[in-house]
Amino acid sequence: MSLLSIEQVTRNFGGLTAVSNVSLKIEKNELVGLIGPNGAGKTTLFNVLTGVYTPSSGRVMFNNGDKEIELSKLPPYKITRKGVARTFQNIRLFKELSVLDNVKIAMNHEAKYGLFGALLRIGHFYKSEAYIDEKARAFLKEVNLDELADTKAKNLPYGKQRQLEIARALATGAKLLFLDEPAAGMNPQETHALTGFIKEIKEKMNLTIVLIEHDMSLVMEICERIFVLDYGKLIASGSPEEIKNNPKVIEAYLGDEVEV
């Protein structure tokens, strides 16, 4: 069984079909790229996969080893708890909070106390808080952000903000990660560092990663398989080499050949 099966997913906005009848499968431990020209429907597909939009038709199945779950029926927060997390095209950190608190919020499901436990500090409150604090700090160490733990997220340099957003998504305990243009707005050095970071966490934490990206050097370097969307339709899939030479892809990016 594939980890994630997208089965004939369509999403309409009024008369516009942003994603049209897309079917694809993603296997465990893959690093998959999703590319396509602007407005091809990549982010819409991500939003369908993570529950922000419900598909107009079709379904998304997630197989975590033991049983199959239909993700397209769940709200975003439940999808996250099933082990699927994402980052955003425009960074959405909790800007006024410290790096540590950003990660702690992602680990909120670890808190083994409810409202009354919190108000009266009874039950597992102290134990749970100590555990979360320890776990969050250990996690930051693992993703090389421990020195910045007390810095406010908004004061981080741009590259570090991107890195924190990926780390925060991971801190939810996710095994399947959707990265929406992680290298957007980065200079070549930052992109290089990010590429290394994505490779590193994938190996270290046994992740499956799907990423949208316009930076082809990054896509071609790290993706094992690439899907190409154009006008909401899946027009090609395959290894980076196959995609580079696929006439349909070249046409989508550069346009049709013209007789002169």
Partner: protein, 323 residues
Amino acid sequence: MKNYLNKRNLITFALLLVIFFVVQFLIKEKIITSYMRSNLYWIGIYIMLGLSLNMIIGITGQLSLGHAGFMSIGAFSAAVALKSDPTLSGLFIGIGIGILISLIVSFIVAVPTLRLKGDYLAIATLGVSEIIRIVLNNLSITGGASGISNIKMLMSWPLLYVFVVLTILLTHNFKNSAVGRACISIKEDEIAAEAMGINTTYYKVIAFMFGAAIAAVAGALFSTTYYIVKPDSFGVSTSINILILVVFGGMGSLSGTIIATFLIGLVNIVLQPYAELRMIMYALVLIVVMIFRPQGLFGSQELSLKLLPNFKQNWFKRKEKSS
């Protein structure tokens, strides 16, 4: 149990006792006059209101303009209870009923309205408090438009102190927990919070109901302090007065709300002799503060010793940034 007995909690507890007995002594020696005492009650009740609204606006980021409505629920519950049983136990029964009704009403209100954002939520909550006011205006048990008068005065410094300290403790614990972190993440970025596995609707409703329940308690204390409650004292202007405390002190800062309430209470005392002029001066003070500290006295930070060494630096740095 051993978790409670850390150094910090013990120092806090000792400090609370000292404050209590000092003020008790000052009242006994008549250094705090009865006029000042009634101002003290005002400050205490408004600290409770400000803190509870801060849970909704400052922590969770949901702009509610209907706080006086929940206050009036508590006030009338206590007034009715005190009419049939003018003792402390009557007051506590009234507080209990007030909390219960307030929780039910806030739940019914929260579920549909908290789907709205920003201005729309503000208008919806404003409407709710008006509905509560008009219902109270037409109920015979609450005395209609003239309200209930000659309520037994049971307010005293120990009673006030216990409730204010309890409110500070509960709101502080709320803020500094996984529940509080979830609420703060909603204020910071709702979409990201949802993507982090936070059930945003659940936490918004929880924060709203928590704030409404404390407001009901404050309302109950209000009714036993001022002898008389009528629906008109819980209109929009009261909601705005509470909102001012939160904005003035800093959204999300509990110590900010407390200090802002003290300052405004003091301004009220100082300006008392000027009658009409008072409201103009009061407005001027607020305008000046908002020009120089638009994020409120404390921003979202808490008063702590950590702030002191670079306090001056921070003060000006933050001012520059926000402008």
